[in-house]
């Protein structure tokens, strides 16, 4: 294509031009054989594609799509489990680092900030994240010196 307006012919064919630009292209098409041929081919190509065979979903496929519910829930539970394991590991490390070493000083419980530091950002947290933070806090309490038997 050598005509500089050929790209506008595509947009004209696709109905993407406003009224003003449409009028400009229509006036151009009356004078330009190349662009008129392009427009004709675009219409024929669209018709050819429109007539082409496209796959249709079978009944089994549709049933499988509905089954995505169960699979998604399974993956979601596994993701929560993996996240909890990560939280527990991080809190264990945090508790070990902040534990006093036999000095007789009052035991230091891992504060809420440790729990919050390993809490993932809100948009990625599964529902009920405040419960999970509470569980993490309880685990931290258990791991502290004061919680040991």
């Amino acid at each position: 294509m050598t005509c500089q307006r050929s790209s506008q012919v595509h947009a004209y064919h696709d109905g993407e031009l406003d009224a003003t630009r449409r009028a400009v292209v229509e006036a151009h098409l009356e004078r330009c054989d190349e662009c008129r041929r392009l427009l004709e081919e675009l219409k024929e190509l669209a018709a050819l594609i429109g007539e082409a065979e496209v796959g249709e979903a079978s009944g089994e496929a549709m049933a499988r799509f509905e089954g995505a519910w169960g699979e998604a829930r399974e993956r979601g539970v596994m993701r929560i489990g993996a996240w909890l394991s990560g939280v527990a590991a991080a809190l264990l490390v945090g508790a070990l680092l902040t534990m006093p070493h036999g000095s007789g000083a009052a035991p230091v419980k891992p504060g809420l900030w440790e729990a919050m530091a390993v809490t993932p950002p809100a948009e990625t947290q599964p529902e009920g994240n405040s419960d999970l933070v509470q569980v993490a806090q309880w685990m931290a309490d258990d791991l502290s010196v004061g919680g040991r038997r």
Binding site: S7, A11, I49, A52, E53, A72
Partner: protein, 189 residues
């Protein structure tokens, strides 16, 4: 998980909100509304039923674990997820084919003549998958979204995550390739 027993038909955004709150019934309704459409798009992009099913399945799984933010129409959002899944699958298959030394898998149909689906000859109904097989991923995407699904340039830009200008230039080049390839079909009197 709860079963949705609502009597009036909620719109797609409401269905997604209910899905986020654990409504399996809402999810089933969403599948009923969009499953066949998404399958057609996936089939057009991949060229075979097995891959199309896998991609739609992954799309619906992603829908369940995602949150619709209302920045586009629901269908546009669904196709956006699907297109990404399809691109990932295509890249994986390409890597696999390279590793296997060019052995074609079931999805490769490009070596068949374009009119092979209903017999030889220019009047045979073409198989869309065959028509598009020689296109690059980007060109195939814009042809499917525009010519098969009738999306606007803006919608396509949203789905593909590229500027509108990129959509237009890809579409021009893709159409150029197809016009060249199917010259014989386009010049019938």
């Amino acid at each position: 998980m709860t079963s949705d027993q609502g009597s009036s038909a909620p719109d797609d955004a409401a269905l997604l909100a209910r899905i986020n709150h654990g409504s399996q019934g809402a999810f089933q309704e969403l599948v009923k509304r969009h499953g066949r459409y998404l399958y057609r798009v996936a089939y057009s992009l991949t060229g075979n039923a097995a891959d199309a099913e896998d991609i739609v399945q992954e799309t619906f799984i992603a829908v369940i674990n995602s949150k619709f933010r209302g920045e586009s129409a629901v269908r546009t959002w669904l196709v956006q997820i699907l297109v990404r899944r399809s691109a990932m699958l295509r890249r994986s298959l390409r890597r696999l084919r390279k590793r296997l030394g060019g052995v074609s898998d079931a999805s490769v149909v490009g070596n068949r003549p374009a009119g092979a689906s209903a017999g030889e000859g220019l009047d045979a109904r073409l198989d869309l998958a065959v028509m598009l097989e020689t296109l690059s991923l980007e060109h195939r995407q814009v042809i499917v979204l525009r010519e098969v699904e009738g999306m606007s340039y803006e919608e396509m830009a949203t789905v593909l995550g590229v500027p509108r200008g990129t959509v237009e230039s890809r579409l021009h080049r893709a159409r150029g390739e197809l016009r060249e390839r199917f010259k014989g079909y386009l010049q019938k009197d």
